[in-house]
């Protein structure tokens, strides 16, 4: 049980830190043009989504969908 | 052999690799797209001949309702190898690797493809894959048809492992070729050649490359899961542990339907080259043909389940696929009407390539019509897995792909070798092929409608008459291919020298010597219009000034 809370905390905090840096990079590159930059922006955006996922899991808002039998 | 001392100008993206010196670098591990194209052509051609032998074995077995020429197991192996070799080791490599490699870079004014080393690597996935597949004959060959559905394919022993590994290997080459060609077409066209000034064969190759890139990877997933199911007992397809066999059909056909378009789209491109050349008329509907290729490519990903109408899918699945399948006939019909309109009012020169193309028009259209029939779910419920289906696929694959490919061979042979083929032998070849093809495959429609299933070694004696007729036609059709082989040897020995443009065509590959020097273009011309406006001057900045004495091979 304890490890679950520790994991939650690490996950949530880590998600915030990583997401923060990702958003910072995105903001810096937002206006730039070019194929390279566009690809990087797409990747970073998806990374931010991933961090959001991990954050929501760490805060126990998202978890495994309770599944009914069907 | 020396390199030219004249300054060789480079178009965007094409540094000239130095001329190869050693035999190995020139003919074995060449990075020259022309040599690689010929390597693909020879290897795929041999595989198609081998596949034809398997087909003849099938036809011998079917001479009698309960023949003992092949055991049932051997018969199953025969049709499995026939289909497998034809699709992945014959048609696709010959058309994409063979014609695409040789002609496409020349038609866009490039000196090679985008990644020449990768091109060479792609070819060299092909012979090992062949060896892997053929070695399975010694260890227990695959025998569930070229579609290898589980559970039958998982029950027969180790052959399926060879089969999946072999196709996965050649699939890697096909995917990389698609990547290579698409990059080449997007980035390496001659200056001034916008997309709407490209030859139609390049449009076709571009769409085909996209299909190769996307669809082949999906096939890899199906092959991989089949491999895992057999070797590691992974339950994707085992109902006892929650799997389902219909899943394989979805994964397999999501690739294999685009695959049939991979096999036919470049042929449509070649036909679009041959018809205006020998009709001496501008092509009707250049943009229609170009854009219809794109829509066929896109639609091809949305119709796969029409191969699965009898697999227990509900009507909410089958009906949309039925409608989309019928829809895909529309862009194809647009092409056929455009070609016919090009021929209308023209003075046709009935050379061998033109004859094969006209033959293609009739037989492929027939195949397309039976395709629209089969697209209807109730008809398919009746005709699926009968000889009606076999007739359909052979009308589109032989009557379409092979006929068109033969036309392409006779069309580009002078460019590749610098010599003309014999028109007499060519015409004999065409007429024998055309007549014998129809006598072989037309009766299959009837025998299928009468109820004969496909992939059976033994059949009801009521079908024997038609089967004997088909088999005899098939033997003669097989023998008629010898005419092509003889013609090829005759041409190399004593065919007249071709010169740069024996047909009076207008695409860029005919502006350089035959065979082309290793660097293709001494000076890449600028392009002002698409090449189909017969009667207008050639739309290039410096046609026919590519005199060079550098021999190639």
């Amino acid at each position: 049980m304890q490890t679950a809370y520790v994991a939650d905390a690490i996950g949530a905090v880590g998600a915030i830190i990583v997401g923060f840096f990702a958003l910072r990079f995105l903001r810096k590159e937002w206006g730039l043009k070019g194929a390279d930059v566009t690809v990087t922006k797409v990747m970073l955006t998806l990374l931010v989504i991933g961090c959001a996922e991990a954050l929501l899991v760490g805060l126990r808002i998202l978890g495994q969908t309770p599944l009914s039998t069907r | 052999m020396t390199t030219d001392t004249i300054q060789i100008l480079r178009p965007a993206g094409a540094p000239i690799h130095p001329a190869p010196e050693s035999f190995v670098k020139k003919y074995v591990f060449s990075i020259d797209h022309k040599v690689i194209g010929i390597q693909y052509f020879i290897t795929a051609g041999l595989m198609m001949l081998l596949s034809g032998l398997f087909a003849e074995a099938i036809r011998i077995q079917l001479l009698q309702p309960h023949n003992t020429f092949l055991t049932a197991q051997q018969f199953d192996e025969a049709f499995t190898f026939h289909g497998t070799l034809m699709v992945w080791f014959g048609a696709i490599p010959m058309i994409t690797g063979g014609f695409g490699n040789f002609a496409m870079p020349l038609q866009i004014g490039a000196r090679d493809v985008a990644f020449p080393w990768l091109n060479m690597f792609s070819f060299w996935t092909f012979p090992p894959a062949v060896l892997i597949l053929l070695s399975s004959l010694a260890f227990g060959a695959p025998n569930a048809g070229w579609t290898e559905y589980p559970p039958v394919s998982l029950q027969a022993g180790v052959g399926i492992v060879f089969w999946t590994v072999a196709i996965f290997t050649v699939g890697i080459g096909a995917t990389l070729t698609g990547l290579n060609f698409l990059t080449t077409i997007i980035k390496m066209r001659a200056p001034g050649m916008t997309f709407t000034r490209m030859p139609l064969f390049v449009w076709a190759t571009g769409v085909t490359s996209f299909l190769s890139l996307v669809a082949t990877t999906a096939l890899a997933s199906a092959l991989g899961s089949l491999f895992l199911s057999h070797v590691f007992n992974i339950p994707f397809y085992d109902p006892a542990r929650g799997g389902t066999v219909v899943l394989f059909q979805h994964m397999f056909w999501f690739y294999s339907h685009p695959a049939v378009y991979i096999m036919i789209l470049p042929i449509f491109g070649v036909v679009s080259e041959i018809i205006p050349t020998f009709a001496r008329k501008p092509i009707f509907g250049y943009k229609l043909i170009a854009y219809s290729s794109v829509s066929i490519g896109l639609l091809s990903f949305m119709v796969w389940a029409h191969h699965m109408f009898t697999s227990g899918l509900g009507p909410w699945v089958t009906l949309p696929f039925m409608i989309l399948t019928m829809l895909i006939a529309v862009p194809t019909g647009v092409k056929i009407f455009s070609w016919v309109a090009t021929l209308f009012g023209s003075r046709m020169r009935l050379t061998t390539p033109m004859l094969f193309t006209l033959g293609f028009l009739s037989t492929f259209t027939l195949g397309g019509i039976t395709g629209v029939m089969l697209a209807s779910v109730p008809v398919d419920w009746h005709e699926h897995a009968t000889y009606f289906l076999v007739a359909h696929i052979h009308y589109v694959l032989f009557g379409g792909t092979v006929m068109g490919a033969l036309g392409a061979i006779y069309y580009w042979w002078p460019k590749v070798t610098g010599r003309m083929m014999s028109e007499t032998l060519g015409k004999w070849h065409f007429w024998l092929t055309f007549i014998l093809f129809n006598t072989t495959f037309l009766p299959m429609h009837f025998v299928g409608l009468l109820g004969m299933p496909r992939r059976v070694a033994y059949y009801d004696p009521a079908f024997q008459g038609l089967n004997v007729f088909i088999s005899i036609s098939a033997f003669c059709l097989g023998v008629s291919f010898l005419l092509l082989i003889v013609n090829m040897f005759w041409s190399k020995r004593s065919g007249p020298v071709a010169g740069p443009n024996p047909w009076g065509a207008r695409t860029l590959e005919w502006m350089i010597p035959s065979p082309p020097p290793y660097y293709n273009f001494r000076e890449v011309p600028e392009v002002y219009a698409h090449p189909y406006s017969y009667g207008e001057p050639l739309p290039y900045s410096a046609p026919y000034n590519q005199v060079s004495t550098t021999p190639t091979y």
Binding site: A7, A22, A35 | G13, T216, F236, L247, H250
Partner: protein
């Protein structure tokens, strides 16, 4: 620390800036197409997973337990963090700070290896087997395929790091590094999808 400058030989002598730019253009498109095709490969198996899951009467199947989502989240953050360090490394390189590039790349490699370690822990502690159920089949095949890609990515980064130390790249000519970083981001992004599909959904 100054970066080694100047031309690298494409096998036959010095390559001009123009030639390099042309080649880089081609290789960038080619690499993107390769990543595109790789994503199709994953998509096909994801389709198979969703299909099997939809066809199952109960999910997860009896006797099988889904992986622990909290540990999974930590592992995911490790991988996402490595994506940030990889991006930071490229920044440093473009500012001609080779030292920064090297250290951030080492950080990326360590985090990537840590992710793989986490996956190994996951594999040994999960109550499911590869061949026991369709859950195991989907989970181990997809995450195993992803783990294989991570391993290849780690090797790729190590090789490019070694090449950088040997002086192959410069602030103006470093397509190999761009490709390795792009590949790493791709691997990252695939995990965004797989994490959602197996741990959350």
């Amino acid at each position: 620390m100054a970066v080694h400058s100047e031309a690298l030989a494409y096998g036959h002598g010095v390559v001009t800036d123009e030639e390099y730019a042309e080649q880089r253009d081609l290789r960038f498109l080619g690499f993107l197409l390769f990543l595109f095709t790789d994503s199709i490969f994953f998509t096909a198996y994801i389709f198979a997973y969703l299909y099997l899951r939809n066809a199952a009467p109960v999910w997860p199947p009896i006797g099988v337990e889904r992986p622990d989502v909290n540990l999974g989240a930590v592992n995911a953050i490790v991988l996402f963090g490595s994506g940030i360090t990889a991006h930071y490394a490229m920044h440093r390189l473009k500012e001609n700070k080779l030292f920064g590039y090297i250290w951030f790349t080492i950080a990326t490699i360590i985090l990537g290896a840590a992710f793989l370690g986490g996956q190994v822990y996951e594999y040994t502690h999960i109550k499911a087997t590869w061949s026991g159920s369709t859950f195991g089949a989907s989970f181990f095949t997809l995450t195993g395929l992803h783990g294989f890609h991570v391993l290849v990515g780690v090797v790729y980064l190590i090789v490019t790091l070694a090449q950088t130390l040997a002086g192959k790249y410069s602030p103006s000519r470093h397509f190999g590094l761009t490709a390795a970083t792009l590949y790493w981001h791709f691997v990252d992004v695939i995990w965004v999808a797989l994490f959602f599909l197996f741990y959350i959904y």
